[in-house]
Symmetry: C2
Subunit: 186 residues, 2 copies
DNA sequence: AAACTTTCTGACCATCTGGTAAAAAGACTA
DNA sequence: TAGTCTTTTTACCAGATGGTCAGAAAGTTT
């Protein structure tokens, strides 16, 4: 799985070969296929296993917390994930970009359920006057987009910032925190 | 080129075949390769031809305009591009996601030059007190990320919003406009 | 109409890729 | 030790794919 993550996230599904994954995992192709029912099965298994980890920060948003704190924490956690788990982010990005052909049920199921729930919480905060009124779904999208950008478009970010240090994640965290807190203050 | 855009943006570089593009263009593979020097050449030609169109909205930002108006106009233009030219967006997203193996010079050249220039303008507005102080590069990234999200992750957005109408682009425009204007008001 | 140039096609090839078959090599048990 | 089950390797295949080539059409010039 570790090898598959490395390969798939770098070259995409079609761009990866079973041989590459096997080599990366230090085994032969037939041996790899002894444990998995084919290339697609590896890919799906990987996506399913990572989905819950990937959604953990969103799941952690609590209705009881302070809205501003919760959002700040969420943004920070997502930037951290882009820094520490860029491969996972790219894996999902690749899959969604191609129209999510392998995980349609994950989108309509687990993901939608969670997002609907959290959107409800956000909406509640807004009607309670604790958050500037806006569309909660688009708010979630904007947090995903801005934070995952630093993993998915890393090459571009590094090129344009002209720095290779991890400093960009700190800067990003600070910038996004300011943007969202100012933008959402009731 | 139109056929290549359609195919490459849907399946990615590795996932597309020359035959697919040829069929889409209504010609035979050898005939297509009579005009292009190979699969890679088609891809690169496409990326280079689209780069300027793609950057037009950013290029249109004028130092003389009102900062808030300029940013509002830019965000709107970018959302419109996601709606009207999703294939172009996905084509670039695919390429950057894989590490931009075919267009390294475009990033370090044309793109970086333009972004540096516009970041300078933004910085100028900030020191003049016309815009809340923040990192101009990360500001540009956040506008790119949030707007292109609606093209690149369209499947996810449609699934979670549960609507297929183009209404989502209107909502997105409104939401992002509010977010950025509130977040950047000095 | 002949000569020549450009465009296009069918047949073909080398390579890559996902996947399989069968047997060898270990590991465990009676 | 012999037998059985699991794991791994070697050899291989069928189909897909990028690309080539000789020559046929089609068009243009002389």
């Amino acid at each position: 799985m570790e090898a598959a993550l490395e390969v798939f996230s770098t070259y995409g599904y079609r761009g990866s070969t079973v041989d590459q994954i096997a080599t990366q995992a230090g085994m032969s192709k037939p041996n790899l296929l002894y444990y998995f029912d084919g290339k697609t099965a590896i890919h799906v298994a990987l996506l399913e296993r990572l989905m819950s980890t990937w959604l953990a920060p969103l799941r952690a948003i609590s209705e009881d917390g302070d809205p501003m704190d919760e959002i700040r924490t969420y943004v920070r956690a997502k930037v951290k994930m882009s820094r520490d788990h860029p491969r996972e982010s790219r894996l999902f990005a690749n899959e969604i970009l191609q129209g999510a052909p392998h995980i349609p049920s994950l989108l309509t199921g687990e993901l939608k359920e969670l997002v609907d729930q959290k959107a409800g919480i956000l909406k509640g905060w807004m009607t309670a006057g604790k958050l500037a009124p806006c569309d909660p779904y688009h708010l979630i999208f904007s947090i995903w987009a801005t934070t995952q950008h630093y993993a998915d478009f890393d090459v571009q970010v590094r090129t344009l910032l002209g720095t290779d240090s991890d400093q960009r994640f700190e800067e990003a965290s600070t910038f996004l925190e300011t943007l969202f807190l100012r933008g959402l203050k009731p």
